[in-house]
Symmetry: C2
Subunit: 223 residues, 2 copies
Amino acid sequence: MTDDTPKSGRRRQARGEQRIAQLLDAAAEVFAEQGFKGASTNAIAARAGASPGTLYQFFKNKEALAEALMARYVERLREAHGEAFDLRVARLPLDELLDRVVDPLIAFDRAHPGFAVLLADPHLSPELAAAKRPAQQAMFERLDAIFAARAPRLPEAERRRTAEVAVHLFRGLLPLIMAAEEGDELAAVTAEAKRAIGAYLGPVIGTGPSEGTQAGGDRPASA
Amino acid sequence: MTDDTPKSGRRRQARGEQRIAQLLDAAAEVFAEQGFKGASTNAIAARAGASPGTLYQFFKNKEALAEALMARYVERLREAHGEAFDLRVARLPLDELLDRVVDPLIAFDRAHPGFAVLLADPHLSPELAAAKRPAQQAMFERLDAIFAARAPRLPEAERRRTAEVAVHLFRGLLPLIMAAEEGDELAAVTAEAKRAIGAYLGPVIGTGPSEGTQAGGDRPASA
DNA sequence: AGGAAACACGAGCAATCACTCGTATTTTAA
DNA sequence: TTAAAATACGAGTGATTGCTCGTGTTTCCT
């Protein structure tokens, strides 16, 4: 990220690392407020307390800045998931599984408002879209792994489709989640999100502590 | 729309109406491809086969253009809904109700790709955001009316919340729906959307032909 | 027929944008 | 101590944007 191939020359100074962090923080804020296109690099530099020239010393262009920000998000996302997402949750009752998966995700998204904005923007360049992929994969793959552990007899195609749909269901509720104010409103929206996702997942991966696979009761054969 | 207060002076010519339609068509395309911010008015005019000056004869600025486009979408949405959304569907089994509601919505969104783009953009000016509201209300209110007819004993607050969540669940799946290619893939995604929304709605408004209200079996009390 | 208004054009204006560059300061390594 | 590298600045550049305006053409009404 920021700048590869430092093949020769001296090392980056601590000052530089701080500036990069400041610039990424500022970029996160401005992207969250204005979107990628609407954010000006001069505004980002100003909010970071730096000049445009300084910004371009660390990032070769606006896109590279967004890519570096995405990379930092992915890093933090992995940290946040690491604990909450290990495969033992697969054996929990569905309610608890959802608590363990949804709560940290909501906390992360609310703590990093620029993340959802960048993720949701469908008009990014191919390079930036590629930078988004690890973030989506991070969520999708872990969900998929949980499903695989919980319902090993579920066909892979169906399992993958289910994981993808579940991710999109959550993303659909994100605007509601982001807009809710901390407290009762957020709790209500969170509960509703879990209810919606749980209702969708239940017939496929089971509601109880993982019974492996069970042939769901009233689940229609897929068309 | 376009220009109010034509208090005096002569009437709009047929040529003008055609130009407006061309400009709105072009705007829909360019907004869908580039987003609102990314679309340039010169590009829209060019795609409509007109000059910038002509565009600004009918729309006082870029925002008014988008507002007029939104207004046209709302108009068409009401037409598309009118038949499919009347309250008799409330008495159908949930599966059929979903068919009647979801299928036309998917058809509309796929036929008007600019619509979803404008609706989903969270970085629009207050005026444009206000222009979006009728579209969201159109969907929300009719859903709410259906729920009210189907489950009259459901508390209003819960009913409204359910309608809103249902709309967001659908919107979350929209990217999948828009990206699917006509045929098997679209059919599969459509079925999955109905399954997800139906699973969420079933415990609240009942799966059978409306029994009024029924106390759902395993619905947990909201936290 | 003829005048007025609607329609049309497109060069160009002012503002903004992403980005550069010449220069000055701070840090590092010898 | 000192030279090179890293960091920092910010006015400026070229491109693009939303939009205007002078001018010409088409349509309508009488």
